[in-house]
Symmetry: C2
Subunit: 332 residues, 2 copies
């Protein structure tokens, strides 16, 4: 294993020190492992808290800031944060208006955020949970009952975060988050497996001409192993799979993200996005907004995921609202 690290045991603490040094607009509690905005929540504003295993950066810490999250709780690599950590984050950012918890659908995360929500309610912090389960690749998996939560997490955090910033109440912010998740689907392919610092070896072996289709963000198995295809055929497969599950008419404005898994350079992501855009266009889909880059990653995995949200005018308006976080920034 060749990685920039001191020891597999200190990866998260060391990375948090770097995040703290890089972003004066964030406050990083390295002891409790909570990343919040440096400024406290405006009284009466609903707060958004998310979190999950580390290894998906910039998700979630990179999405903390004006117009998006109030706090992120990074767990160990590919491991849910603990309930006390989520509780401490919720308590820290609650202004009295309540906290929306954005949870990716993995068994550990669901359980720990549920426990944190109960503890928070006991401490007088109202919570509402938005569960993200957008990945159409598999119904159940190693880590999940139901669909996995992947790229749509960014869409939920951006759009619900914008409504919270505009003064939406707890119910309204959670509702729009749930609507965004319900309108979003993702599908991913991997060219290589990722290597966790703890194991030091790739999670699985792929031959030089093989890809894993329908991969998750923890290196868990996908739908099938296939021969490497040209980008246009991979784009066709990916677009077809997503649209089978999410019918779109040409009137629906789509928010489209072509996301890298961490080890794939931007040149290839743009190339693949060009093919995805062409395939979507052939099927009459209108790309209203798009993102191309590494946003919801899986350590050093080479690969990419496509996330499509069938947006409506309200979602687009909230998507366009100002945001200022380390990884997503416009209008501010």
């Amino acid at each position: 294993m060749k990685k920039f690290l001191n020891s597999p045991d200190t990866v998260i603490d060391d990375a948090l020190a770097g995040i703290a040094a890089a972003h004066p607009g964030l406050a990083v509690d390295t002891r409790q492992r909570i990343i919040t905005r440096a400024r406290p929540t405006r009284p009466g504003r609903v707060a958004l808290v998310s979190g999950g295993g580390s290894g998906h950066e910039p998700l979630h810490g990179g999405f903390v800031g004006t117009g998006m999250l109030d706090a992120a709780c990074p767990g160990e690599v590919f491991t849910s944060p603990v309930p006390d950590q989520v509780l401490a984050a919720a308590t820290a950012v609650d202004s009295g208006a309540g906290v929306v918890l954005v949870v990716k659908n993995y068994t550990g995360d669901v359980m720990n955020f549920e426990m944190a929500a109960e503890l928070a309610e006991e401490e007088g912090v109202r919570t509402a949970t938005v569960l993200v389960d957008d990945d159409v690749a598999v119904r159940d998996s190693t880590f999940t009952a139901g669909r996995r939560g992947t790229g749509a997490t960014l869409f939920v955090e951006k759009i619900a975060g914008a409504l919270a910033e505009q003064g939406g109440d707890l119910q309204a912010v959670a509702d729009i988050g749930r609507r965004v998740n319900a309108a979003s689907r993702s599908f991913a392919v991997a060219l290589t497996a990722c290597t966790t610092p703890a194991s030091g070896r790739p999670g699985f072996d792929l031959a030089d001409d093989e890809i894993e289709v329908g991969i998750g963000i923890h290196g868990e198995p996908g739908r099938s192993r296939e021969k490497l295809l040209p980008a246009r055929d991979l784009a066709d497969l990916t677009v077809r799979t997503v649209l089978e599950d999410l019918p779109l008419s040409s009137e629906d404005p789509a928010i489209v993200m072509l996301n890298g898994m961490g080890g794939t350079p931007l040149l290839e992501l743009y190339l693949l996005f060009g093919e995805v855009a062409a395939r979507l266009s052939e099927r009459g889909v209108t790309i209203a907004r798009s993102l191309v880059g590494n946003y919801v990653t899986s350590l050093d995995m080479a690969g990419a995921s496509l996330t499509v949200c069938r947006a409506d005018d309200r979602m687009l308006e909230l998507w366009d609202a100002p945001v200022s976080t380390p990884a997503l920034r416009w209008g501010l």
Copy 2:
């Protein structure tokens, strides 16, 4: 070789199609291979044009937009754009106030931009060239007489671009660009070699416990091959090497970039930046501004570079000025 591509011969054209689809704020001339802002240059404003071989994305196309470049000319992978291409870009964006050409110091780029500048002058377009040569690793190399141009290119393009946006004249914009370059130094380490689409194989072999120290952005050899070190020791080596060449007092505000080479995930970049920040702090250096991410890459190479600019108040002010490009955006 496993990459997202259709054919090694069409990588640049296909990627340009993706850039065009992803960024409505840009105009992409796929025939001439020129990326410009969608809106024409404001009359009387100096324009900035850069370019170079592809494979370093988001450099340069990702830096086209308000407050930074007016045009980028991507060549083939690791190959200079041709003079006619640079000429066409300069002519397209000149508003009459002249064009600053930002050129990384590689023999092919220097020659082709020089030829383009001569042709432009013949067509009545005034030009001034800023040569970037910040890499302290080697004095001459496979592709260079003198030092190589790497990460400081971003600093030059941001700061000179801000002055152009504020109405600086041709001489002033070129001058500040040259001052930024003179005040900047870079140094890089690679954990793996990159694979060009044309060759299909890594440019060199590194053992599982080896790194290449002082690597360039084309996979050209560095200073030495060493055993893999913990992040804190790599940070120490890198900081020491840069500061030997760029003395900094605690009064100098430093702009610091910890840049990924394309295949290194953000988690590791943050971790390494934490160590770099600590080593800089020990040496009394004040980090005034910082960037952590993949900005000046080398295809899929795993590795990182450190760039430090000994800024002054004017440079900081221009650094903070609004910018709106695909890869760098704040204040707008």
